[in-house]
Symmetry: C2
Subunit: 321 residues, 2 copies
C-alpha cells in the first residue's frame, strides 16, 4: 500500500504548464489572463449516488472532470485549471492509475491543468473545482433569455438515462445501444467548443445535468420568462426515439424531459442568430436544433406530437430521489 | 425534509458581495484584483477521519474553512472567495443551520465570500476550495529557506492533538484544559494576518496540519536544506509542557513533534528580520518564537533539553494511520 504523498506524486503530480506554481505547496499560484473574469464551478460525485460501485475508473476520472467542464461550457468560459479532492477507501494503484489516466485524458483535451488537491481515506467521493476565463460581459448566464428567443439544445439527449433505466431493469437495450449509451452515461463530452462559439450570440445558457424540464426551469426562472418546447423537436437518441411509439413511450418521454446526465447545453438566442448557430453546430458535428420558444410570463409547457400539453415530471433532487 | 435547492437557498445563498456573479448560475464570476496572482487551495474533511461523528456542527463549519484559510495564510495570500462541496446523509436543518453559521462566522471574519457549491446526499464529507490574492513575487512558498535562516513557529502547539489523545483514552485533562483544547482542536484560528505581515520578510512558510516534523520536512525538502530545532524552544501549550517532566513525557514530545491539527505557521527568515517578526507576533498576541536554524545539507534534527537528538516520529499519513 502506497502512502498518501507517494500516491499523489505517482498519479497526480505533473510539471506545471501555465501555472506559476502547481501541485506541492500550500497553495497553487496562477495568473489570470489580463482583462478576463474568472469563472468558478464545483461538483462533487459520491459513490452509490452519482455512479455505481463498480464504475470503470478510467471513465469515472473522465466524468468527474466532464461535469465541471460542462458548467464552464455553459458559461462560455475557456477552461484553465482545476483542483481535485479525492476520498478513496484505500490507496489502490490498480484503481488510481486508470482513474488518473481518464481524468488527464479529458484535462489534456481541453488544456486544463491540475493545480492542487487533497487525498484522504474515506468513502469514494470526488470533488473538483474548475476555473475558467471569460471576457467581461461575454459570460453565458442563465438570466438573459428574452421573449421570442429560440430555445436550442446542443445534441441528442435521453440516452444516458435510458441506459441507467436498463441498470434499474426497467428496459432492455440492444447490445449496440447498450455500448453506445454506456459511453454517453459514463464518459460525456462537455460542449466546451460550443460554449466558446456562443459567446456574444446566445442570450442565456445552462447545462443539462438534472433533466430538461428542471434545468430549463432554472433558466426560465433566472430570466423571468416562460417557454414552450415541442417533444417532436427534441434531438433524441435513436434508442429513445424507437421507444416513443411503443409500450415504453412513458419511459421514453421521461428520459427526454426528466432524464439527467446528458451534459448537453440548452441555450437561447434571437431568431436572427439561427443560421449562425446552425452552422456552428454542424461544424462541431452536433445534431442539435431548436426545441421551442421563450415567451413572456412564467412556466414551461411541453407539447407532444399532437400539440397536447404533457404532464411535466418533477426535476431530480438528490435528497428525495 | 427540505429539497436540495431549498436547502441551498436557505442556508448557503447570500447576496453577492465582491463577486460579479455569486451562487446560482453554472459558474460564479469574479474579477481578480489587477496585478495580483490567484492563490488556490483545497481541503477535504471526512467524518470519522478528520472529525468525530458527533462533532459540533458550528465548529465543524468553522474548521473546514479554517484549514483552507490556513493554507492561504501560509502563502501570504489575502483570502477572497471559496466554494463548498457538501455531502450530507440527509437535508437536516438542525445540523445545516449551525454548520452554515460557523462557516460564515469565520468567512465574514476574513472577508471570504462563498461563490459556489454542490450539495448531495452521501457520507458526511466537506470539500472547500479557497481563492486568495497575492502580489507576484510575494507569495510565501515552501522553497525559499536559506542556510542560517531562523525557523519560527507562530504560536504554541501540541494542544489540539493532546485533546485528541484524551479522546483516544491515552491521557486525562483537567476540565479547564479540556475546554481550552477542544477549542484548539475543533475551531483553530488561521494565521491570516500573520501570513500577510510576513510578505517580503519570511523566506519560506508552511502551515502545520500534519505535525511539526512532517510539515517542516516538506519545507526542508522543497528548499533543499536541513534544520535543527530545539524542543525546549518550541512554544508549547501549558497542558503539554506540564507533561514533559512526567511519565507522559513521550506523549508530550509526540504531541509537539508529530501532533497534527495545530494550524500554526512555521516560517523561516534571516536573522536580520528577527526584531520585526517579534514585534509582529506581539502585535497579533501570538506567543510564537524561534525554534531552530536552517542549515546546508538535508534532514531534520530535533534536540531535547540536554542537547541530545530525539528520534523523529513518522509524519501523519491518512492511509497508514
Amino acid at each position: 500500500v502506497l502512502g498518501e504523498f507517494a500516491l499523489i506524486d505517482q498519479f497526480f503530480k505533473r510539471a506545471p504548464q501555465r501555472a506559476v506554481l502547481g501541485v506541492g505547496d500550500d497553495c497553487a499560484l496562477v495568473e489570470i489572463t489580463k482583462g478576463q473574469q474568472l469563472a468558478v464551478t464545483t461538483d462533487m460525485l459520491v459513490e452509490g449516488r452519482h455512479f455505481f460501485k463498480a464504475a470503470d475508473p478510467y471513465r469515472l476520472g473522465w466524468k468527474c472532470l466532464a461535469v465541471n467542464l460542462s458548467d464552464l461550457a455553459a458559461m462560455g468560459a475557456q477552461p484553465r485549471y482545476f483542483t481535485l479532492s479525492l476520498a478513496v477507501p484505500s490507496a489502490d494503484a490498480a484503481w488510481l492509475a486508470p482513474f488518473s489516466k481518464g481524468l488527464f485524458a479529458l484535462a489534456d483535451a481541453h488544456g486544463m491543468e491540475l493545480i492542487g488537491g487533497d487525498t484522504t481515506a474515506g468513502p469514494l467521493t470526488i470533488s473538483i473545482t474548475a476555473l475558467g476565463e471569460v471576457p467581461p460581459g461575454h459570460a453565458l448566464t442563465r438570466s438573459g433569455a428574452q421573449p421570442s428567443d429560440e430555445i436550442w439544445l446542443s445534441h441528442e439527449i435521453g440516452g444516458a438515462v435510458l441506459r441507467l433505466n436498463e441498470c434499474w431493469e426497467r428496459t432492455t437495450l440492444t447490445p449496440t445501444h447498450r455500448q453506445a449509451l454506456l459511453q454517453r452515461m459514463e464518459a460525456p463530452e462537455p460542449r466546451v467548443a460550443l460554449g466558446l462559439a456562443l459567446r456574444g450570440i446566445a442570450s442565456a445558457a445552462i447545462d443539462l445535468s438534472d433533466g430538461l424540464s428542471g434545468d430549463l426551469g432554472h433558466l426560465l426562472r433566472a430570466s423571468r420568462v416562460g417557454a414552450t418546447v415541442r417533444l417532436a423537436d427534441i434531438p433524441t437518441h435513436e434508442a429513445v426515439r424507437n421507444r416513443l411509439q411503443t409500450a415504453e413511450r412513458a419511459l421514453a418521454i421521461q428520459c427526454l424531459l426528466a432524464g439527467g446526465d446528458d451534459y448537453e447545453l440548452i441555450f437561447t438566442a434571437p431568431a436572427s442568430a439561427h443560421e449562425t448557430i446552425g452552422r456552428q453546430l454542424q461544424a462541431l458535428s452536433l445534431s442539435g436544433g431548436v426545441i421551442g420558444t421563450i415567451q413572456a410570463g412564467a412556466g414551461l409547457t411541453a407539447l407532444d406530437e399532437f400539440g397536447a400539453a404533457l404532464p411535466l415530471p418533477k426535476s431530480f433532487d438528490h435528497f428525495s430521489a
